[in-house]
């Protein structure tokens, strides 16, 4: 085969790619921040929350973790309007990512909470902190610290998984590649380019998250 790579056509499409990258970043920002927040809440609910909350959280986590992201996305985008709740494609994609990351991070964070020595809970209690105060001030930060690398990986996985949001017409990075190739029929160039950008984004995202971890957990630096 004598296929000749040609990136010249890109000149006309780089704005599409730039917008796509911006959208992918925007999605992972929203999904990451809210998803982890949801994950913290669910982890608390499942590990320490009131009895009635635990099975509900478990149901949510299992439903999400055991079905494909794409299907979840379809139900939110095409299905919710039938229930009178219409979200545009970007909102739907963001919500799907929040829900997805929420379920995964709930499990990860819960592991961190459960690895917290009992003595920490007891020390909090014996200082007259309420259970919620103990969770908030004593348990949460060290628990997050323990699982931070795993959480960072999960965020990267969700970012890469977000490629399928182009199926509901969200104009993300994969959309850009598909759009360009549907016009120019230069699929290899388009996919090579988007793969390279995804790799760069993944490396950058992980790096930033780990740096964020250093900021959130300053005591780690003092560790011997």
């Amino acid at each position: 085969m004598t296929y000749e790579f040609d990136f010249a056509w890109l000149a006309g499409y780089w704005p599409v790619f730039a917008r796509g990258v911006a959208m992918t970043i925007r999605l992972i920002l929203v999904g990451g921040v809210l998803g982890i927040a949801l994950g913290i809440f669910c982890a608390w609910g499942r590990a320490l929350g009131p009895r009635w909350l635990r099975p509900l959280v478990a149901l949510y986590v299992e439903l999400i973790r055991n079905t494909p992201f794409l299907i979840q996305l379809f139900f939110i985008f095409f299905g919710l309007p039938a229930a009178g709740f219409r979200l545009n494609e970007v909102e739907a994609a963001s919500l799907a990512m929040v829900i997805n990351l929420g379920a995964y991070s709930a499990e990860i964070i819960r592991a961190g909470i459960e690895a917290t020595p009992r003595g920490q809970f007891e020390a909090g209690a014996s200082l007259a902190l309420s259970p919620l105060q103990t969770f908030r001030h004593v348990v949460l930060i060290p628990a997050l610290q323990k699982i931070w690398p795993a959480l960072a990986s999960q965020v990267v996985i969700v970012m890469l998984g977000s490629a399928v949001v182009s199926q509901i017409a969200v104009e993300d990075l994969t959309f850009a590649a598909n759009f360009a190739q549907s016009r120019t029929f230069r699929a290899f160039e388009a996919y090579f380019l988007s793969t390279a950008i995804y790799l760069a984004l993944a490396i950058l995202l992980r790096f930033l998250l780990l740096r964020l971890g250093d900021l959130l957990f300053p005591h780690k630096r003092g560790a011997r």
């Binding site: 209690a125 014996s126 200082l127 007259a128 902190l129 105060q133 930060i141």
Partner: protein
């Protein structure tokens, strides 16, 4: 009137009855050493007094208020009685100073400046004034335990419960912690402490309580208890430890 009054206290884990009816009074300013073999229920006793374990029978009264299981009562109790653990249990993500400040700010809603002033005072008191900004893992075991003491003191409790607070320390570091406790006792703090340091118990405590199989087996002033143990169990226990 006694500060801590324990009557007919019973505690079981499942089938296993660990405390089989404990009666014990601790007056204000008293320093009580609780000794006994491993598994005799010493820790459980202290944990019950701090409300960390739900009790199965009897009553515990602290400063006239009877211990109940609900959240509000428990918190009120814990404001009166501080506890220090064998494993220090400092909060690893907070500096020594922040460890001491946290509960003041969160529980007592003390302002930051006041909490910090108190923290500095308490750290000074345990000889760690200059370690305010150090994280626990930058401190030696003895230093960590002293921060734990400062943390409990900052809540201005009426009594302190200490559960083998020197057992996890290297021998060289035991002295510095006991020195701090000695100071507290001298200042009139009410103390109830589980300890294996017999010499210390003899020197500092006003009363020694020997527990055996979930009961108070013998009790009395250290001079008497150590010099003339009446029961064979205490005799054998002292023989082994000394």
């Amino acid at each position: 009137m006694s500060l801590i009054a324990i009557e007919g206290l019973r505690k079981s884990y499942g089938e296993h009855e660990v405390l089989k009816g404990i009666d014990l009074e601790v007056a204000k300013g008293e320093v009580v050493a609780v000794i006994g073999k491993s598994g005799s229920g010493k820790s459980t006793l202290l944990r019950c007094v701090n409300g960390l374990e739900a009790i199965n029978g009897g009553s515990i009264t602290v400063d006239g208020a009877r211990l109940a299981g609900d959240e509000a009562h428990l918190r009120a109790l814990r404001l009166k009685v501080g506890m220090i653990f064998q494993q220090f249990n400092l909060f690893p993500h907070k500096t020594a100073g922040q460890n001491v400040m946290l509960a003041q700010q969160v529980v007592k809603k003390t302002g930051k400046a006041a909490a910090e002033a108190m923290a500095r005072r308490m750290l000074d008191r345990v000889g760690l004034g200059e370690k305010f900004g150090a994280y626990p893992d930058q401190l030696s075991g003895g230093q960590q335990q002293r921060v734990a003491i400062a943390r409990a003191l900052a809540m201005e409790p009426m009594a302190l419960l200490c559960d083998e607070i020197t057992s996890a320390l290297d021998p060289e570091l035991v002295g510095e912690v006991l020195q701090v406790v000695r100071g507290l006792a001298a200042e009139g703090m009410t103390l109830m402490m589980v300890t294996h340091e017999m010499a210390f118990a003899r020197d500092v405590c006003s009363r020694v309580v020997f527990m055996h199989q979930g009961r108070v087996h013998e009790a009395g002033p250290p001079g008497e208890v150590f010099a003339n143990p009446r029961t064979p169990e205490l005799q054998s226990f002292l023989g082994r430890v000394a």
